[in-house]
Symmetry: C2
Subunit: 223 residues, 2 copies
DNA sequence: ACCTGAACACCGTTCAAGT
DNA sequence: ACCTGAACACCGTTCAAGT
């Protein structure tokens, strides 16, 4: 019985901003952004909370870094495709990354310091539209509409209290909501829920590409 | 010099859940959702923090109530219009209310208890689409796409560090971002910023209806 | 019936101090 | 150079107690 636990080799590696960021992302991925406290983060890294302040100025620096890290994970191979395929692939890839890191979209919306990965991503998307012949103005319109749609869809999806690719879970939740009011009071809501959402095979996740195509169809026409 | 300050007539009115909710909304509107603490809210109401727990089970009940209150403020007169005008007017009205209560959209996304005002709103929108001849499936597609777009646009707009209906403020912020990197590194981003965003008369807020029309145009074609 | 004081288990952060 | 203990000014919430 020694008085000190053996120091793990991991905890002996000196801290760096990178290690702090990686640990913050791992913690937020696993336990949710509300579990990301300076004290818990320090614990995961084998140090005291106060040690973190030697490597980052404050918690906001960590949050900004996490967002940019997430953006750097977006698959950029869409830059090789024609504009419409490129927009589709980038939308799917953005959605994938944001679903993998459910904290990212809310952080994005509360933080306003664009990092290098975000700027690079923006530049690539704008470049594709410009090279495809979209005017500057139409490029701005297109980018605004696509981003609003993508972020809005993912926000909605992440805020639903069930896995959107599971028809069973969706049906259960829909059923619970249905039972909270008489169907005569909200007849159209009841109809849509019973005859669509609660049907086997319904998949809210499938709505993503449908809505995306609505926007892309119109853009193609206006090009 | 009396030992007790005169009790204001206001603070003598007994608390109710409604008064707590109204005060919570007033506080969040004025000082931001991060200022809404049980202690500050109690102070505004002239009681101690612990008194609030006699009227509401916990803070989440207040947050849920605030969201539904905001939804009840949406102008419902769109129900009289043809489907396309109705969708446009309801989108504009939702955006207005969410801009008036900047805390509402983030609360909506973190809370999952739909209140009566939200359910009624959903039912009305679905009813318009169904009566206009949209199939159940197409109604689901349309609603999903429109809501994703509306909430996404408002989220983006509220997260920008300037008033989106001010061309001057947008240009200033754009200029600051531009100076954070050499223009050769992100040429397309630089071009869009300099030749569009920083031009006099540019108004990000104007993008809202353009993107909305992209979706509505496609829906009209598919109807 | 309605409100409160004291307490608990948390936060982020500062600062002087340790090695 | 890197880490920490103690402290500060906060949180939401419980509970027994006051009127």
């Amino acid at each position: 019985m020694t008085t000190e636990p053996e120091p793990s080799t991991e905890s002996r590696t000196p801290l760096t901003k990178e290690r702090v960021l990686d640990a913050a992302i791992a913690l937020a991925d696993e336990s949710g952004i509300e579990s990301l406290t300076m004290r818990k983060l320090a614990e995961d890294l084998g140090v005291e909370a106060m040690s973190l302040y030697y490597h980052v100025a404050n918690k906001n620096v960590i949050l900004d870094g996490m967002v940019d890290q997430a953006f750097s994970e977006i698959d950029m191979s869409f830059v090789e495709l024609d504009w419409r395929s490129a927009m589709t692939h980038r939308a799917i890839s953005v959605r994938e990354v944001l679903s993998l890191h459910p904290w990212a979209i809310s952080l994005m919306q509360s933080r306003t310091n664009p990092g290098p990965a975000l700027l690079h991503h923006h530049d690539s998307v704008i470049g594709i539209l410009r090279q495809a012949g979209f005017s500057i103005e139409m490029t701005a319109h297109a980018y605004s509409a696509l981003d609003a749609y993508i972020y809005g869809f993912v926000s909605q999806e992440l805020s639903l209290p069930f896995d959107t690719s599971s028809a069973e879970e969706a049906a259960e939740v829909a059923d619970a909501i249905l039972e909270s009011f008489p169907t005569e009071v909200f007849p159209y809501l009841a109809e849509l829920t019973i005859e669509h959402v609660m049907q086997p095979g319904y998949n809210y996740a499938d709505e993503f590409e449908f809505g995306l195509d609505l926007i892309l169809d119109s853009l193609e026409r206006l090009k």
